[in-house]
Amino acid sequence: MFNLKDKKILVMGASGYIGKQIAITLSKMGAKLVLSGKNEEALNEILLGLEGTGHFIAPFNVEDIDKTANFIKSIVSLDKNKLFGLVYCTGIFPIRPLKNTKTDFLNNVMLINFYSFIEIVRCFSDKRICKENASIVSLSSIAATNGDKGQLSYSASKAAMDSSIIVMAKELSQKNIKINSIKLAALLPDEINFDILPLAIQESINQMKTGPITNKSVSNHVAYLLSDYSGNVTGNCFNVQGYLK
C-alpha cells in the first residue's frame, strides 16, 4: 500500500461522501490530515473516525474566496509544518436546464467548483506554504467532456477545472509540484438502493465492466496520485468510468 506517513494533506470538502472516505483512507496510510468543509460538526465527527493522531479540522466556506489566502496560511502556522498535499473534493452538482441557467446561478456554481479551486491551488502552491514534491488532486467528472441534459453548469465548471490542470501543471512543474484530476463517472453509494437511482445513472453503472465505482476505489486513486508512486505523473485528467466508449 502507498506510504503517506506523516505527510500533511489538506482535504477540501472532507465532509462530503467521497471526501470523508478519502480522509479515512489517507489516515490509514499514515497521513496527517487537515479536514476542511463548511460544516464544523460533520468535520469533527469524521475526525473521530480517523486512524492515527495529529489530524485537525479547519472549517472554511469556499464561497468566502477573498479569505482563502489567510485560511491557507493559518493551516501552516497552526503547527508550523508546510503542506505536502491538497485534495479538492468541494463541489456542488445542481441539475438545471439551459432555460433556467441564468448568470447568478452559473456564477455560484463556477465560484464553488472552479474559482475557489484555482484560488486554493494558487495559495497552496506558494513555496512558503507547500513542500517540494507536493501533490494536488482534484475530483472532476466525465461530465466535463460528456455532460447530460441539465448538467450545463456542472459540466462547464468541471471542463474549466480540467483545462486548467494542464496549464497549472506546466507552471507548477518548475516548483516540483504535480497536479492531476480524476474524472469520475457515476458513483454507486453504499447505502443507496440501485433501483431508485435515475435511469441514466443506472445505465452508466450497468456499462461498468470493471464493477461499480465506489468511494473506496476513488480514495485509492487519490492516494496513488498523492504518493511517490506517481512521481512523474502530472497534468493528467484520468477517466475513471469502468468502460470504454
Binding site: 506558494d126 513555496k127 512558503r128 507552471e171 518548475q174
Partner: protein, 70 residues
C-alpha cells in the same frame, strides 16, 4: 509607497523572504520568466505602470527592482 511595503510585494512575488537589496537576481532560481510576468502584473496593479521589457532584462539586483517600483 514605503520601502517595507515594496519588500512585502517582492516577497509575495518571489515567495521567499531571504534576500537583501544586494542579492543578485541570477542567484535566485525564483526569478524566472513567470516571475517576470508576475512583476509586470504587480507593477500594473500596484503602481498603474506598464513595465518596460528592456528594463526587466537589465535588472541585476533586488535593488534594481525596488528602484523601479514607483
Amino acid at each position: 509607497m514605503d520601502l517595507q511595503r515594496k519588500i512585502e510585494l517582492l516577497e509575495e512575488l518571489l515567495e521567499i523572504d531571504e534576500f537583501t537589496s544586494d542579492t543578485l537576481l541570477d542567484d535566485l532560481e525564483e526569478w524566472d520568466s513567470l516571475a517576470a510576468i508576475s512583476y509586470v502584473v504587480m507593477m500594473d496593479e500596484e503602481f498603474n505602470v506598464v513595465a518596460n521589457p528592456n528594463d526587466i532584462k537589465n535588472f541585476k539586483t533586488i535593488q534594481d527592482i525596488l528602484d523601479s517600483m514607483k
